[in-house]
């Protein structure tokens, strides 16, 4: 796994590199000292794993994740940020407290390789598919959401509502920009306002003006505009 270390303190990075020497599965492809540097390196090197400090000068680790279209696996490394860590759903997050215990590091990496095995080979396309995860922050709450769990994206002004589980937090992005990045084998632009996850489609009914009404698992209903209806039928009949 290609890993990127992001921490503003040289000694902290060095300590982590020392600890990672024992783990042959991890290949460190770079070190970044702040969020902007990390952002460039992630786009250039596309790492599979980030070791991410939360408190850094300039922008915080959370802000970095919000900047990314999709996030690789993330292990937070922090000395003491009880508040920041509490913002997360416990299971969704892995973090290591500095000074890092070698056993805890081994545990985290073990969990990670399990997840990676299940995922299988990533698509060669550089599009966002079902295996990718996005970081969503809404107010004080944070999630890592796998795109396979997202049933619907709905545009709302300058924001997009992301529908998953019982939540629909907002992210600050445009639906057009998102549509361009999503893998169209799984995601379909139903109308100006909606992108649906095709795996969540439960039923289709004819609607006014030659449009369609799509029922999603979980009960949400989305209208497919007439312009898109033909495309949609074609896609679903395959």
């Amino acid at each position: 796994m290609k890993a990127l270390i992001i921490d503003d303190e040289r000694l902290a990075r060095k300590e982590l590199i020392n600890l990672l020497e024992e783990h042959n599965s991890i290949e460190i492809i770079g070190e970044a000292v702040n969020v902007d540097e990390a952002y460039d390196m992630i786009n250039r090197l596309s790492p599979d794993l980030l070791f991410l400090d939360i408190q850094m000068p300039g922008k915080t680790g959370f802000q970095l994740l919000e900047m990314l279209d999709s996030t690789p696996n993330v292990i937070f490394t922090t000395a003491y940020d009880e508040y920041a860590i509490k913002a997360f759903d416990v299971n969704a997050l892995d973090y290591l407290l500095k000074p890092i215990q070698p056993e805890r590091l081994a545990d985290s990496l073990g969990k990670l390789s399990n997840i990676e095995d299940k995922k299988g080979e990533p698509d060669s396309l550089s599009k966002l598919g079902l295996q990718d995860q996005v970081f969503v922050k809404d107010g004080d709450k944070c999630w890592f959401v796998s795109l396979s769990n997202v049933r619907l994206f709905e545009s709302d002004g300058n924001y997009i509502k992301v529908y998953f589980d019982n939540f629909k937090p907002m992210i600050h992005k445009s639906l057009n920009a998102l549509d361009e990045k999503l893998d169209h084998r799984s995601f379909f632009r139903a109308s100006r306002k909606h992108i649906v996850n095709l795996n969540w489609v439960e039923g289709i009914e004819p609607w006014f003006n030659g449009g369609l009404m799509v029922k999603l698992k979980g009960g949400d209903k989305v209208e497919v505009s007439r312009r898109q209806a033909a495309k949609f039928k074609e896609k679903m009949s395959l």
Binding site: E9, R10, L11, A12, K14, E15, N18, V33, N34, Q55, P57, G58, A79, Y80, D81, L97, K98, P99, I100
Partner: protein, 345 residues
């Protein structure tokens, strides 16, 4: 229910009960004589006397703060008061009987006086027993609560003094330093111990020698330099006469910590922190300058931390009255100046 309401409910219920019992007893004793009814009024009056007398007793005991006396002194007072109240009530009863024409000359016989005063005294005594036992428990509860609050405050104070973010980051740097520079890492461990020991043993209510405080601050800066490396430049210039002064413990360290945490640690390129002391008019002036910018947001942040600006001001006022001064300002667009002026103790 508030305590006053509780007291009055008990008083009224208790003495009503007392009157009812007396009426029942009178009915049993005098039932066959057919003259019971004329005794109702004096018996009820007596209960009212008891209520007023015990209330007066409570008023006096509160005034004189009897609850704070030792058990022995309190007992003597309670017994004497009971006798006085008990006999007064019997005298009042004779008065009432006289007015109602129920008076018999045998009422003033010694046997009758003693025979009636004694039960009255006993009643008042039992009342006092209930009253003071309740007061004792109440006071005990209050002191427990108070103690718990004090402990919580001390704990919070300690937590903010220890600054876990700093401690764990330092330990992490030291861990990496062990391979790279064993000698430096040994020094760092000693410095961290000094800081921890100082935080744990300092009594915040006293003052500390300037010399001791500046030593701790130097240790602190040295550890932060290990963490931030070239991103933190420090300078400490001390006027030799400064060592004659006393300052509130941990205050200097807290202000320096704030300068680093809210100033330098937020800057990608880092910055510098300097401490200068001068003596002016027999007053010690400590100036801390750090790279950064004071915004209303990070002022709030410092306040929330507890050991922040408002706390510093409060402590200075407490120790030096209005003779000490404190200010924190943007000296230049990218320098924050924190200044304390202290008199000699």
């Amino acid at each position: 229910m508030n305590k006053n309401k509780f007291y009055w409910s008990l008083q009224i219920l208790g003495w009503s009960f007392y009157a009812i019992i007396n009426i029942i007893v009178a009915n049993i004793v005098l039932g066959n004589q057919g003259t019971v009814a004329i005794w109702y009024f004096p018996l009820i009056t007596e209960a009212v006397f008891f209520l007023l007398a015990t209330h007066f007793f409570r008023f006096i005991s509160k005034r004189l703060k009897w609850i704070y006396l030792s058990i022995g002194l309190l007992s003597i007072r309670v017994v004497l008061s009971s006798i006085i109240i008990g006999s007064s009530i019997y005298l009042l009863r004779i008065g009432v009987s006289f007015v109602l024409d129920l008076y018999g000359s045998e009422s003033l016989s010694l046997a009758n006086i003693l025979g009636n005063t004694f039960p009255n005294t006993l009643v008042v005594f039992i009342w006092s027993l209930f009253y003071f036992i309740f007061q004792y428990f109440d006071r005990y509860n209050k002191s427990l609560k108070h103690e718990a609050e004090l402990h919580q405050m001390e704990l919070n104070n300690l937590k903010s003094q220890l600054n876990p973010h700093f401690i764990f980051n330092s330990l992490n740097s030291i861990r990496a330093l062990v391979d790279e520079n064993p000698i430096k890492s040994k020094t760092a461990i000693t410095q961290l111990s000094n800081i921890l020991r100082n935080s744990l043993t300092t009594d915040q209510n006293k003052v500390a020698r300037f010399e001791d405080e500046i030593k701790i601050v130097k240790d602190y800066l040295s550890l932060e330099t290990i963490r931030y490396e070239e991103r933190l430049q420090t300078e400490v210039v001390i006027h030799p006469k400064s060592y004659d002064y006393y300052i509130p413990p941990l205050m200097l360290q807290t202000l320096v910590e704030n300068g680093i945490k809210h100033g330098i640690s937020k800057l990608k390129g880092g910055g510098s922190l300097s401490i200068h002391t001068t003596i002016d008019n027999d007053q010690l002036k400590i100036q801390i300058r750090n790279t950064g910018k004071l915004t209303s947001q990070n002022i709030d942040g410092i306040n929330v931390r507890g050991l922040g600006i408002s706390n510093t001001k409060k402590r200075l006022k407490l120790i030096f009255n209005n003779k000490a001064h404190f200010r924190i300002i943007n000296e230049t667009p990218n320098t924050v100046l924190t200044e304390i002026i202290l008199p000699k103790v």
